[in-house]
């Protein structure tokens, strides 16, 4: 999609008429959109001041479409974003273009993988991203529209259209968009980017994984019983991380579960190390489940009666705090052949 291909006639329609008009071009996610009029796109670009709107910030497979800031702004308008959300979208797109993400595979696989976008630091507060109660669900404009805008970019620029650009067998709800803030105020540990070597006031993490798996523990007052349940959610043969050992597990702890760990003196590293030790399955069970395995060599040498970790290194277990009151956490296994990326946001004009 380029701005030039959006006819002036198209830009004059809005609401449900726009849905029909865009559907004729094979564009959109099926939901109503905002018409990307030149005035709206220019207003959106004010969210990334002092930058070149026509600079290509990423080339996105499988279509290898060029994503300029202007093209991203067009999609941000269509999704319902405000200008202050544009820097997050641009940074998320930059992150997805990193080779270790393997975006061509992410978009083209039969798996239901979709990008999870986490917003960290000052921009989460200033642009209205929500990391508290219900953060992974509906009700917050910044979360909802940024996640949706990223999907529109994947559809329109990357060409990840179901069928000839996205082979996902069933698709998944996260493919409509999944974006939220890290709940830094309720976290007992330093902000997540610092754990992966990113020192910046604002940052974005992208992780290409499944929809979140719930972890429920209402009663425990020690880390062990809570994290054993997290390990249970991680240790299943029904996910790619069981047969691909480089895969990451994002563990989204709710504030109360995290606090229970921290009060007991556990650091973020303690939590990931414990989960590495406990999220395991017998080698014989995993070998029975998978004839094809992409495991680290040392894992393949474990005897059948030994326990195999669900990933090859504790660093692949990523811990952050999200959510509000209550005792539900989530595990988001990756697609397997992809790595998460955390980038500082340099688009804020400061």
């Amino acid at each position: 999609m380029t701005v030039d291909t959006v006819s002036e006639d198209l830009l004059q329609v809005d609401g449900s008429d726009l849905v029909e008009a865009l559907a004729e071009h094979g564009w959109g996610d099926g939901l109503p959109m905002v018409a990307p009029t030149p005035t709206r796109v220019e207003a959106m670009l004010t969210g990334s001041p002092g930058t070149d709107p026509d600079e290509v910030v990423a080339v996105l497979p499988p279509r290898f479409g060029e994503a300029t800031r202007r093209i991203l702004a067009v999609n941000a308008v269509m999704a319902g974003c405000r200008p202050e959300h544009l820097p997050v979208l641009i940074t998320a797109v930059r992150a997805l273009a990193h080779p270790e993400v393997n975006l061509r595979g992410v978009n083209a696989t039969t798996h239901n993988v979709a990008p999870l976008v986490v917003v960290h630091g000052e921009v989460a507060r200033s642009a209205g991203y929500h990391g508290g109660r219900g953060a992974l669900g509906p009700g917050n404009r910044a979360n909802a529209t940024t996640g949706r805008a990223l999907r529109l970019v994947l559809l329109h620029v990357a060409g990840a259209t179901p069928g000839d650009g996205d082979a996902s067998t069933q698709g998944g709800p996260a493919k409509y968009g999944l974006c939220f803030a890290e709940n830094a105020d309720a976290s007992p540990w330093p902000i997540y980017p610092s754990a992966v070597g990113v020192d910046a006031p604002s940052a974005v993490t992208v992780h290409c994984g499944e929809a979140p798996h719930n972890v429920h523990d209402m009663e425990s007052d020690d880390p062990i019983r809570i994290l054993d349940k997290v390990a249970s959610a991680m240790a299943t043969t029904a996910q790619n991380n069981a047969c691909i050992s480089q895969g990451e597990h994002f563990v989204l702890l709710c504030p109360e579960h995290a606090a229970t760990c921290a009060v007991a003196g556990w650091s973020r590293r303690d939590v990931s190390s414990y989960l590495f030790q406990k999220a395991r399955l017998p080698a014989t069970e995993l070998k029975r489940a998978f004839g094809l395995r992409a495991w680290a060599p040392w894992m393949d040498q474990l005897a059948n009666d030994e326990l195999v970790p669900m990933t090859e290194h504790p660093d692949n277990i990523r811990i952050m705090v999200v959510g509000g009151p209550g005792k539900h956490s989530s595990v988001v296994p990756s697609w397997g052949m992809t790595r998460s990326v955390t980038l500082p946001i340099h688009e804020l004009g400061d």
């Binding site: 497979p61 499988p62 279509r63 061509r104 083209a108 060409g159 069928g163 000839d164 082979a167």
Partner: protein
């Protein structure tokens, strides 16, 4: 090589990579979870097509499919 259920994706990807006439051979989908003997039968059935592509430079129809 591709399967018939994924040939649209393969063709589109090849085209976007600048290879609209990439020589491709399609076999019946799926290939996962299929008896090895059946896989061998499917492979045997496309050997002539593969040879034609490798020696003729085009698909049997003259373009990618």
């Amino acid at each position: 090589m591709t399967t018939n259920a994924l040939s649209d994706l393969a063709t589109k990807t090849a085209t976007e990579l600048g290879l609209p006439d990439l020589r491709m051979v399609s076999v019946a989908h799926p290939i996962g979870g299929v008896d090895p003997d059946e896989i061998r039968r499917r492979a045997d059935n496309v050997v002539d097509e593969v040879l034609a592509l490798l020696t003729g430079g085009r698909t049997l129809e003259g373009s990618a499919r």
